[in-house]
């Protein structure tokens, strides 16, 4: 949790730098590359290892992140030299949140029981766009356990129209109403 919080602070700092340089979107893509690289457990283990010299660590990041903007790499090097490699996931999520707010767009996750066809996705997209009155970045997920229907997650808010949720609701209501009528 501490890493997450410090990650948020780093994210705010790099985002302000990005705005000054007018490179917010490009750095966002770069950070996605960085975050993906740091998903690799071996790579992070190497960067955290005590026997590896600081120079060696920086050389490793320079090789792996060759295509990334110099300023973003500076951030990574700073975190590596401060032994806060674990913060990087937090930096990425914080940065995307800030970028989304800056561009006025909203991330929405759609969960369905079966894969959606593109026409359906478009319909949902226009529905959600009219709902939040913002540009929408749609991600779709398939989860068979919801049985049917649709779950729309808009940021921290959830519109649960899944069959599973309705069945759960029905079970709870029957429990309480039968109890009350007894």
């Amino acid at each position: 949790m501490a890493q997450q919080l410090s990650g948020q602070r780093y994210a705010r700092a790099i985002f302000e730098l990005a705005l000054e340089n007018n490179l917010a979107e490009q750095w966002g893509e770069d950070l996605a590359v960085v975050a993906e690289a740091f998903q690799d457990a071996d790579f992070t283990a190497l960067l955290k290892h005590a026997d590896m010299s600081a120079v060696g660590k920086l050389a490793a990041t320079a090789t792996v992140l060759a295509g990334v903007d110099a300023m973003v790499r500076n951030l990574v090097d700073l975190l590596v030299s401060k032994n806060s490699v674990d913060s990087i996931a937090g930096v990425y999520s914080g940065y995307t949140a800030l970028l989304d707010r800056h561009l006025g767009r909203q991330r929405v996750v759609i969960t369905t029981a079966v894969a959606l066809e593109s026409a359906e996705t478009d319909r949902i997209n226009s529905f959600v766009t009219s709902l939040v009155q913002q540009e929408v970045v749609l991600t779709t997920r398939v989860d068979e356990s919801i049985l049917g229907g649709l779950v729309i997650q808009i940021g921290d808010r959830l519109l649960d129209g899944s069959t599973k949720a309705r069945l759960d609701g029905l079970r709870n209501r029957l429990h309480t109403e039968i109890a009350a009528s007894a």
Partner: protein, 503 residues
Amino acid sequence: MATRGQDIVSLIKRQIEEFGGDLTLVDVGTVVQVGDGVASIQGLQGVRSNELLDFGDDVLGLALNLESDIVGAAILGDPNAVKEGQRVQSTGRIIEVPVGEALIGRVVDPLGRPLDGKGPVATTGTRSVEKVAPNVVSRQSVDQPVQTGIKAVDSMIPIGRGQRELIIGDRSTGKTAIGLDTIINQKGGDLTCIYVAIGQKQGKVAQVVGSLEAAGAMEHTIVVTAGASDSAPLQYIAPYAGCAMAEEFMDQGKDVLIVYDDLTKHAWAYRQMSLLLRRPAGREAYPGDIFYLHSRLLERSARLDEASGGGSITALPIIETQAGDVSAYIPTNVISITDGQIYLEPELFNSGIRPAVNVGLSVSRVGGAAQTRAIRKVAGQLRLALAQYRELATFAQFGTADLDAATRAQLAQGQLATEVLKQAQYVPLSLADEVVVLFAVNEGLMEDVEIEKVGAFQDQLLRYVAGSHSDILTAITESKDISDEVSANLTKAINDFKPTFTG
């Protein structure tokens, strides 16, 4: 049975017709850290303080710390059921409990769920657990008594409806017994009783419920219990939940008695929660708002004026001291909030003086105004006699032969008073019985009774008066006063009884 089955079928039919009709946008979050019954949650942007959270699988949580990125929540229920990365949903409900008549006679947990195996509680309404106390305008001063049925309390430390009287003492000095006797004494009366057990051993709670049932006192009593094995948040909300149930009756214009057993363990539970939520610790590691914790609870006890319905909540909070230390942090806090205290002493308890009330340290700041006239007339000298006796008793240990007659008389009077105020558990006396016994002492009619035989004398006297002079008891009960005629009749009755007393 058939009709009930039919009911359920029609209910299910209606449910199926309305299936999935309502869709609402809810706030969700993700558990980022969980441990020791406390969860840190990311998300939940719109959550309010004290809102119930749904962790799924019937596990509820309570949002307590609202920070910029993280919500700190206490888990009400099995903390092992919550895992990192789990989704949490807000419910939009500020923590509330079911209230109403249906709870009477039941044993429930702080969320109103039944624990007595008697099936679901058919309550209709709910009330918010946290509520601001009635304001100054809607209150009136205490003017009606709560009869505890305990001679020592009713005569010297009278309790009025709407009062907060602390019961304080070391472990096993009879604190709970005073609360229970008071509840038992309300049998057939108009007071509804609520017994809140906080952090008690489940065995002890079972024993309490058993005693109340045996005395037929569960018919007007609700027991709310959060045991020692329940999570700290549940123990923390228990007294507030009990108070919410009491307020429902108070707002209907009824009188309620609530016993919080005990607030020491309540403070411990809150300390545990606060430390786990990383709130700054103060003296004895209690958080800064530990005083407010109890003051806001006890302020909800009140006597409302007629315009507000005239109901009342009388609170008997219990505090356990360590080695008689009433100047510790929590005891001083609660003493300063309450309208007096009944102080129980282990030395008295062990020397056989039960209830072990220390008369010198016990006070009732407002109850005097509510004391019935009958008791006031006969209890006048008792407190003074006992206080003087305690001082002289130390000297008297070295023999009374050298003392003057007046001192010896004082000693004898004090000894008699001490003996008369002894009372067994679970046998509260009616107002009239108390008056008869105290009258006999006050009028000096028991001075020639041997100290060892005082208990037997009392029992036989009460039986005699009930048998042959029940008109006196009726007169006292109805007028709540001792008229000159009753006084003369009672003196005559006691004098008539004395020769027949065999000892």
